[in-house]
Amino acid sequence: NGLRNEFYRWKFPVPYILGDDLELNAKGVILEAFEMFRLKSCVDFKPYEGESTYIRFLKDDGCWSMVGDQQTGQNLSIGLRCDYKAIVEHEILHAMGFYHEQSRTDRDDYVTIWWDEILSGHTHNFVKYDDKLISDLNTPYDYESVMHYEPFSFNKNQSIPTITAKIPAFNDIIGQRLDFSSMDLERLNRMYNCTSTHTLLDQCAFEFPNICGMVQGPGDDADWVHKKSSLAGQEDHTLVGRCKDAGSFMYFDTGSGKAEDTALLESRILYPKRTQQCLHFFYKISGSPSDKLVIWVRKDNGTGAVNKLVKVKTFQGDNDQNWKIAHVTLNVQEKFRYVFQGLRGNHNSSSGGIVIDDVTLTETPCPSAVWLIRNFSRLLQTSVSGSVIFSPRFYSSEGYGYGITLYPRGTSSYPNYCRIAFHLCSGENDEALKWPVENRQAIVTVLDQHPDIRSRMSPSRSFTTDRSQIMPGTNGTSMWDKPSLVGKFDPSCNCNRSLDWGWSTFISHKMLRQRNFLKNDDLIIFAEFKDLTYLKHTEVPVKLAQPSARGLILERQRRSAQNTGPLEAWSSNMGDACDPNPCQNDGVCVNVKGKASCRCASGHTFFYTGERCQVAQVYGNTLGMIIGGTAGTIVLIIVIVSMLTRSSM
């Protein structure tokens, strides 16, 4: 449901300002949403540096945005209770030029609007748009869109919906606030002609015989085998063996051979843009516990040859033959390949080997805490409301110890949800660290284990520690003081755990069974504890807008263009300066303090300028191509003619 008029499209990167009225958590969530755009699309953002157009994020009442680039700088509000990743993504998608899904021209084919159930004075919230104004970008109606409203929006009666799906199964889906849907991304990428994303370098589910351009390493003893899911216990991770004749993985058989036998699997050559990457994959070592999986990086040696090997991490076998998740931080700035080395251990024989699947390489930091909980369905069955399990202790990059508390069957108020909470743990660095620990953002994410990272819709919640969060029943003791002072001892970690701070409705049991949250019956939770102190003062003053200089190559022509009189005269003679529209060539009229001002349309080749958009101009690069092409043709003709002349002589 995107605006057709290309005038409202952004040029990337989009300049942004984070207003200092924003909550610290909101600032962190906005930056997290930017990273999702960079990971899944070509949309990019940069701090404002005096550009004529920008988005200024501020904390006003509620969550709202304008639709499309207004070309003048615009505000976007992330108010109280709006600081969720999916809500920020929703508002930014408005700014990118998208309306709500349920206002599509053809929406009545897919949803029913219950007009009698809408709050008085709010029916305008359910208007639909003419397809002259908006385009569906040739995509079907998307119940899963993050731009769709939920069934109970603007309802009179708390239990009666105002909007329902014609296919009832989607009543639980519309209004999802997990993340972008695949269709949201398809549309965004179509609208902005995206061909790649900023931070996704590589991913492979090994579903196709080309294995994503990976190659068997030179000089090794054996090869990795591209294998299909077969018997029970030999399922892939992508499809978990659910699909006949599909679901493949890479396998190094360590059953026979000699100790130290090696098989290398190398990625194609990759070109990083940032300095840090995260290699993320699933693996299992199903043979001997003495087998190893080693991750290497083969870098450019300075001459352009990619042959400088650096060992990064080793995964040792154990007796656990389940799929495990792995994250490996790479720090590469030159072209490189990542390498999986299977290493046979010192054993006589075994039935099994090393398996890898669903590999992803992003230019983002790896999560600092990854908690994998096996047999989650059984845990759900055997738990009761209020019972909890604690994660192991993790450490943040600064050295603070922390953990996650999971209430599988939630609390008495919400027994159909999992409650997930964050707490601090005492740790080995406590004496060196500053307490209470304030201005840190705790982010908890339940991983949707979809093999394509762009299709993952993982719910995420966050809060920021501050001095207002006080221990109950104390005289102002901070919850974020040293856990050895304010926490309780837990023998499972041999540490003190603080009170937890979390979300009773983090994820419903119904949602857990959808998507890929419980693949292999494993629940995976990521957690971060990041210092946001550097975001306390981010506001920069807006500079006087400079006139846009894009493509102004025919300025002389614009000045000499025939005009039909100054717009000011038009404005002063009319009641509404924009009625009738004085702008030509599909220009949009904007009433600026009672005077008409034209916002001219633009296309791929031409754009319009002039007070009334009366002058068609050609973009500089197009003109360059035309001039270059013409000059080249003339030169070619001269050469051919001279050659023909010589040969005839």
Binding site: D61, H94, N125, E150, T382, T405, R461, S504
Partner: protein, 45 residues
């Protein structure tokens, strides 16, 4: 894992223990009546 029980007062909620409100609910509670719930129109519209 060992499954345990915690005293109720040991658990505090970042969102006041409520279901996450969606955008229309947040904006209605804030007294806003924007176009389509959360769209700010340019002044002339």
């Amino acid at each position: 894992f060992s499954v345990r029980h915690l005293p109720k007062e040991d658990a505090r909620d970042a969102d006041a223990g409520e279901l996450r409100e969606d955008i229309p609910g947040i904006n209605l509670a804030a007294g806003l009546n924007l176009f389509q719930g959360d769209i700010l129109l340019p002044n002339e519209r």
